[in-house]
Symmetry: C2
Subunit: 328 residues, 2 copies
Amino acid sequence: MSQHSSGGPAALPAEFGFIGRIFRPLAGEGALDLRDDAAVVTPPPGRQMVMAVDAMVEGVHFLSDDPPDTIGRKLLRCNLSDLAAMDATPLGYLLTVARPPGYAEAWFADFAAGLHADQQTYNLGLLGGDTTSTTGPLVLSLTIVGHVASGCALQRCTARAGDGLWVSGTIGDGALGLLALRGQVADPNHVLAQRYRLPIPRLGLELHGIATAAMDVSDGLVQDAGHLARESGLDVDIDVDRIPLSDAARAAGPQWRETCLTGGDDYELLLAVPPDREEALERQGRRHGVPMTRIGRFTDAASTVGVVRLHDAQGGTVRVARPGWSHL
Amino acid sequence: MSQHSSGGPAALPAEFGFIGRIFRPLAGEGALDLRDDAAVVTPPPGRQMVMAVDAMVEGVHFLSDDPPDTIGRKLLRCNLSDLAAMDATPLGYLLTVARPPGYAEAWFADFAAGLHADQQTYNLGLLGGDTTSTTGPLVLSLTIVGHVASGCALQRCTARAGDGLWVSGTIGDGALGLLALRGQVADPNHVLAQRYRLPIPRLGLELHGIATAAMDVSDGLVQDAGHLARESGLDVDIDVDRIPLSDAARAAGPQWRETCLTGGDDYELLLAVPPDREEALERQGRRHGVPMTRIGRFTDAASTVGVVRLHDAQGGTVRVARPGWSHL
């Protein structure tokens, strides 16, 4: 901090320059140029606000030598996937950065460039933030803000017995991508690594009136299907042979099937869809270029709710060692 | 993680129990019981949403042996102070916790009890959150959500030359409180330590139509007054003998005056108020039991904007070594 005295030019703390150089170019509508105490935003007429938050920690969710431009984008996209699961449209985000001494400004410039690219792709802007120092690993926290037609947010607790369990896109690429980056899985075209680093949030599918319930698959398909069933007071049957795999995941070999089912990092949508809305769902999928696959069906709960019964195409029982990820 | 197999009860990851025990009791309206992908909130008719975010890091903003019930409340109150500076009303908040191995669940139970108490005081609820593990210090990030009459949010950039610079409450107690906790300042009644640990956000003053610009004082009065002036394209004169000090701050002795002016952690409001609105401001202050003091006046900028000229009651120049805190 430079000397400050009466009558001299107003010295500014170091973080003002850092925020101005790195984050101000990301400021969106309502952010007041990141110069005020708070952002002011208004949902469009007839829309409610939708908000979620996720944190990522160096060494837990990413490595310090990961490409910095993908780290912020992944955090943003994971949050956007939560909006997608509510059938919501993005509006903006708030970001906190706990910055360790070892991260130079150039790292954050790349980090922000990644965010800037995704802001264009997904049509949103930075609404606010806070940068602080830490002696520990880099910690990022991102609050996503969107809007949804009033009363139309898709929830997890509203699936009904008889609804099909549907999933968007392909499952397992993210989990295999992490193994590919560790050299454990072949990934000649880097398709899997790319899916791990840059998931694709399934925004804009307009699923209100089609799906009865939804969530995004982040912690493993089997575990997350159990959440959807349990929150709705149901059980669910899954035919594991119907779970859609990408060509790259198939090429990795059948020994990785369980990883695909339980590995997480998919950021696809898991949907409950009544039989008479299946055509409408497939139509929406085709319109947006997103494959939609029915992989199972919700049933009345036998005793404990949230039981996931896995079987193969021949009806044989399939077992997995664990259904998904725990964060603690 | 317990063994999970087809047909067995659905095992839940460890963080589900933790979140359920510690954070679900804090869930507010629109939080969907913290069981869904995102929260859904609606501003009251004629109101816009106001949002801000702040992070706190163990060892930087608090110590691991600070009382856990005050740590979450301080973070919440710092954020509420940002809402107060926009003349906004609280609605809810989202919270991320990067949890080191050494923090037991009992610590978080106390942490949450503090938040619960403040939720009653300030009428808001938890809207969402994320808990993750970290190898480093505890990092907390809190996004505050409120609402304000449409078009009426107080900003920093709208002060006018001739407006008085006003401040709510008393200045310096928080900075002296930190020194008191370190044994450097006498604090026989623990008034200063209490102000440091639990600042009082100046919510509900209804300053639209009275103040032309506002911000909260968090990083030192002199520095923050400079921000308000600079954002408005002005300079500002401050009579340091008018800066309101508490009895406890006066008792600490005159050698701490500069600490009061520049130490930060005040969470009072800094307001630009035209001469013909001074009576209205004082009336609002009396109604809410918050002293309001004019400590200076905004002037046209001489050359560089944002210059803070400090003088005493006799007109003598006052110098300070640095105007406030930097976070990097």
